[in-house]
């Protein structure tokens, strides 16, 4: 990353202004001004671009205006040839060790790199997901709590209805009582008057019956024995006559 900074600042000094599309990352200038950047901008998603896994892209961009596309490769090749020919780098057995190790390392990273990266990302994501869950749960429960409180406040507003109902009940009871008293008075008066009438009727009926009985008794007692004998004789004579007529007919 320091090399990147070197290239970038070198370019800025040269003021070629051809960084353009090559600069992928946001330039994080650290401690350049006295004001602190808060909140700190998030870390970039990916690292800086490199070519062949080692050489930062900025190098190629730096050399592009002067030497074109093949410039850095020529530089690299020339440097290598210079080192070998002048024996600044001596080829010995260590060279082969380094080459083998490099081959193995490159192969293994190419093969297992992505899966290891995915695994590490998964671990991180799990942590984040757990934290997110906690946060969501907390927010949901708070929102629910607010809802409940509002509902309870609304419920409390209806308290006057209870007292209205109670007062209504009291009024209804009083009214019922009053009406009952009213009806009771009326019924009692009616009962007394009806009683008088019934009493009168009873009197009349008793007098009537007594009179009838008395008349009957007197009539019966007035029938003297003489009259009785005469009436019985008349009855017998009549019966005889009747018998004669019926006998004659039959």
């Amino acid at each position: 990353m320091l090399s990147r900074l070197v290239f970038v600042s070198g370019n800025a000094l040269k003021s070629s202004g051809a960084l353009g599309a090559g600069l992928v990352q946001a330039s994080r200038s650290l401690h350049t001004s006295s004001q602190s950047l808060a909140p700190v901008p998030p870390l970039p998603e990916t690292g800086g671009k490199v070519r062949h896994g080692l050489f930062p892209e900025e190098l190629f961009q730096l050399l592009y205006p002067k030497t074109g596309v093949t410039g850095p490769y020529m530089l690299g090749t020339g440097l290598l040839v210079y080192l070998l020919s002048k024996e600044i780098y001596v080829i010995n057995h260590e060279t082969f060790v380094a080459a083998s190790i490099a081959a193995v390392v490159v192969y293994s990273i190419k093969k297992f790199g992505p899966s290891v990266a995915a695994f590490a990302d998964k671990l991180n994501e799990e942590k984040v997901a757990k934290a997110q869950e906690v946060k969501d749960l907390a927010m949901a429960s708070l929102a629910q709590g607010i809802e409940n409180e509002k509902k309870e406040q609304w419920r409390v507003e209806g308290r006057s209805m209870l007292f209205d109902a109670k007062r209504n009940n009291v009024a209804m009871l009083l009214e019922t009582n009053y009406r009952e008293r009213l009806h009771m008075v009326t019924n009692e008066v009616k009962r007394r008057l009806d009683y008088q009438i019934a009493l009168q009727d009873l009197h009349r009926r008793m007098e009537q019956e007594h009179m009838v009985n008395w008349v009957e008794k007197s009539v019966v007692s007035s029938i003297t024995p003489q009259q009785e004998k005469e009436s019985i004789a008349k009855c017998i004579a009549d019966l005889k006559a009747l018998a004669k007529t019926t006998q004659a007919r039959a």
């Binding site: 406040q153 419920r155 507003e157 209805m161």
Partner: protein
């Protein structure tokens, strides 16, 4: 017969039932059944007394003046209205209930403010993938590792991992 109370306020039982919390539903049901019983009793009684047919009684009853006397006394009779002893108690209950209700609403509002503050804190938090560990410790103080109590990694009892 004088005196008529018509102060019955129409009560919307449906709306009332909605406002009753679940733990007081049984009390509400008891109140409703009682009120309905009283109302039924009231409506079963006719409002005015049945009229007494004085002319018929005058001709029917033989005793002189009895009917007239009864009629005079009956017409002069004033049935006293029953005394209302409970309304004052109810009114004072209502005043007390209002007081406690306002106190409860105040407390409830304080709770709502508290909840809303916490909710705002959660909503204004930066997303987790942009947080550093220090940001996390600021937002959720319980995640802060006590480096003084457990100086060696992982800075918390092994059982808590």
């Amino acid at each position: 017969m004088a005196g008529r109370r018509v102060a019955l306020k129409a009560i919307d039982w449906v709306a009332f039932a909605e406002r009753v919390p679940p733990n007081q539903k049984s009390m509400f049901n008891a109140l409703k059944t009682r009120s309905d019983g009283i109302a039924a009793k009231l409506s079963s009684l006719p409002e005015t007394a049945a009229a007494i047919d004085w002319s018929y009684y005058r001709t029917a009853v033989a005793k002189a003046g009895m009917v007239d006397e009864f009629e005079k006394k009956f017409k002069a009779l004033q049935i006293p209205e029953p005394v209302d002893t409970q309304t004052n108690a109810i009114n004072s209950q209502e005043v007390e209930a209002n007081k406690s209700a306002t106190a409860y609403i105040e407390a409830s509002k304080a709770r709502v403010a508290e909840y809303e503050k916490r909710l705002a804190k959660f909503q204004n938090m930066i997303p987790f993938d942009q947080m550093t560990i220090e940001d996390l410790n600021d937002a959720f103080p319980e995640t802060k590792l006590d480096k003084a109590k457990y100086p060696y990694w992982p800075h918390k009892p092994i059982a808590d991992l």
